[in-house]
């Protein structure tokens, strides 16, 4: 009896230790990656490639997510707010939810699935086929060549995506409100603009930058450390997406505290 309890505690202890080790390795990896952004040579082409991959090719999925989110928000809140006879608050509720919260978080989760997985798979394949080692033997630092450009691209691309998503999300709400719920278009727009503050958008975009960094970081970190053939790359891909998604939600809470809690 005592033994099983002790075994259980030992297991928990081991898990905690492993988690701390992984977290330490991740932080170190991030710092090394960032330090390469400050020292030449810079790989502009690699940055551009990653930026286009993240920013441009994620546009459709982020746009669709944002539009539908705006639409469903309008629908839900109009029926919900009707109980308090507060339907007029609907436009500001939609715009606040989208810019502060749902825009960055949903875009982050979608991009984590798309881009984080692809990064982990690409770098992981390069690792297990010795391509990462080959870089080193050809006078190129793989952290500088593979990781640093992706970190920068993720950090810069996601805010732009989220900005587009914010606009489309509000548009989705606007369409449902005017076409289906009989709102006056001009009132809807003026309501939206009147209640929206700079901090709403700025906080959302800051979140997006942090999420973009996290997605790229986890994709690179897991790919870079992958071992053992196709199976290892598959495992790296999965943990890149899972870890990025969890961290996005955790940082979302933390950043919201930072911006709005008093």
């Amino acid at each position: 009896m005592v033994n099983t309890v002790l075994d259980g505690l030992a297991g928990i202890g081991r898990a905690v230790l492993m988690l701390c080790r992984a977290a330490g390795a991740l932080v170190l990896f991030a710092l090394v990656g960032l330090s390469h952004l400050l020292r030449p040579p810079f790989y502009g082409r690699m940055f551009l490639r990653a930026f286009i991959e993240i920013g441009y090719f994620s546009l459709p999925v982020v746009a669709l997510t944002a539009i539908f989110t705006g639409m469903v928000l309008a629908l839900q809140s109009s029926t919900g707010l009707a109980r308090f006879s507060a339907e007029t608050a609907m436009p500001s509720l939609v715009v606040l939810s989208i810019t502060r919260e749902l825009g960055p978080v949903l875009a982050g989760l979608m991009v984590a699935g798309r881009v984080g997985a692809a990064m982990a798979a690409e770098i992981g394949t390069m690792r297990v086929t010795d391509q990462v080692d080959a870089l080193t033997t050809l006078s190129t630092d793989p952290m500088k060549y593979l990781v640093a450009p992706r970190l920068l691209a993720g950090t810069l691309a996601l805010p732009l995506l989220v900005l587009v998503g914010d606009i489309l999300g509000v548009l989705g709400g606007f369409i449902i409100a005017t076409v289906k719920l009989g709102f006056n278009a001009a009132t809807y727009i003026s309501n939206t603009l009147n209640y929206m503050q700079t901090i709403d958008v700025v906080s959302g975009l800051t979140k997006a930058a942090v999420f973009g960094f996290l997605i790229a970081l986890l994709g690179c970190f897991n790919g870079y450390g992958s071992r053992g053939g196709a199976q290892g790359v598959g495992a790296a891909t999965t943990s890149a997406v899972v870890a990025a998604s969890v961290l996005i939600l955790a940082f979302d809470y933390g950043l919201t505290e930072l911006f709005f809690a008093r």
């Binding site: 394949t125 010795d130 391509q131 080692d133 080193t136 033997t137 050809l138 006078s139």
Partner: protein
């Protein structure tokens, strides 16, 4: 040894992966301007040995001297500078599959800023011709090449920057006998003409005799025999004899499952 200074001197090199001891006290001298062939059974740690010297795997113990300086005990910058003079052909080619063939070949030259992108393409085509590939191959992607062609592109990439030391991990495996002989000739050329130093891993005894000034055999984590290629086939060492003659019976037991 031949009076020539050792370009690379390995002493007591140890590396274990978990409980598995792969290198267990390797001593190896590679004299400047010669080519050394390392032979040994599959899984005996030949690739790991080269990767340790290149700094791609951190050994557990021992010393690796390049130009008389112990790379494991130097500061990072100097360590990298010493190792930058080594070019490597990886066992599986390790071509960058996101880059076309010409960019693969010229990668080292571009990275060192020795050519611009326009010159890089011409240089790549020259290098490809040296390994018997047509200029049309330059525009292909690595995935579009046969295994033997990938190996030759890998070779062209390794020698493009004319490094002072060249490592070849099974340069002729997967090539037809004629191309194998051509590649061997190319390796000998690199060493003789450029005054370079080479370490090659091979399973091919004919190739070993063509390339080698010296042969060393790696077995159970150590160099158990080394000598000239002429002495190789009649070494009197039962392990070497079994290996070079490809006998099933002898002191080396292959680990077979089942």
């Amino acid at each position: 040894m031949n009076g020539a200074a050792a370009k690379i001197r390995v002493r007591g090199l140890r590396k274990a992966f978990g409980a598995k001891r792969v290198l267990d006290g390797v001593d190896l001298d590679v004299p400047e301007g010669t080519s050394t062939v390392v032979i040994g059974g599959s899984g005996s740690g030949k690739s790991v040995l080269l990767k340790c010297i290149l700094g791609l795997i951190e050994p557990d113990a021992g010393s690796i001297e390049i130009d008389g300086r112990d790379v494991l005990r130097l500061p990072r910058g100097e360590r990298a500078a010493l190792r930058r003079q080594i070019g490597m052909l990886f066992q599986n080619g390790a071509l960058f599959d996101s880059l076309p063939v010409w960019h693969n070949v010229a990668f080292g030259l571009l990275a060192q800023g020795r050519v611009n992108r326009a010159e890089a393409r011409t240089r790549a085509v020259e290098m490809l011709a040296q390994v018997g590939l047509p200029a049309t191959a330059a525009e292909l992607w690595p995935a579009e090449l046969s295994g033997g062609m990938q190996k030759r592109v890998g070779l062209a990439r390794a020698i493009a920057a004319q490094p002072a030391v060249l490592f070849f991990d099974e340069p002729t495996t997967g090539l037809d006998p004629i191309m194998g002989a051509v590649i061997d000739g190319l390796i000998v050329d690199c060493v003789k003409r450029l005054g370079g130093t080479a370490v090659a891993i091979t399973h091919d005894m004919a190739s070993a005799r063509r390339i080698a000034d010296r042969v060393a055999m790696l077995h159970s984590g150590r160099i158990i025999w080394s000598g000239t290629p002429e002495a190789l086939m009649a070494s009197g060492n039962p392990y070497v004899d079994q290996f070079t003659h490809g006998r099933r019976d002898g002191p080396i037991r292959m680990e077979l499952r089942g």
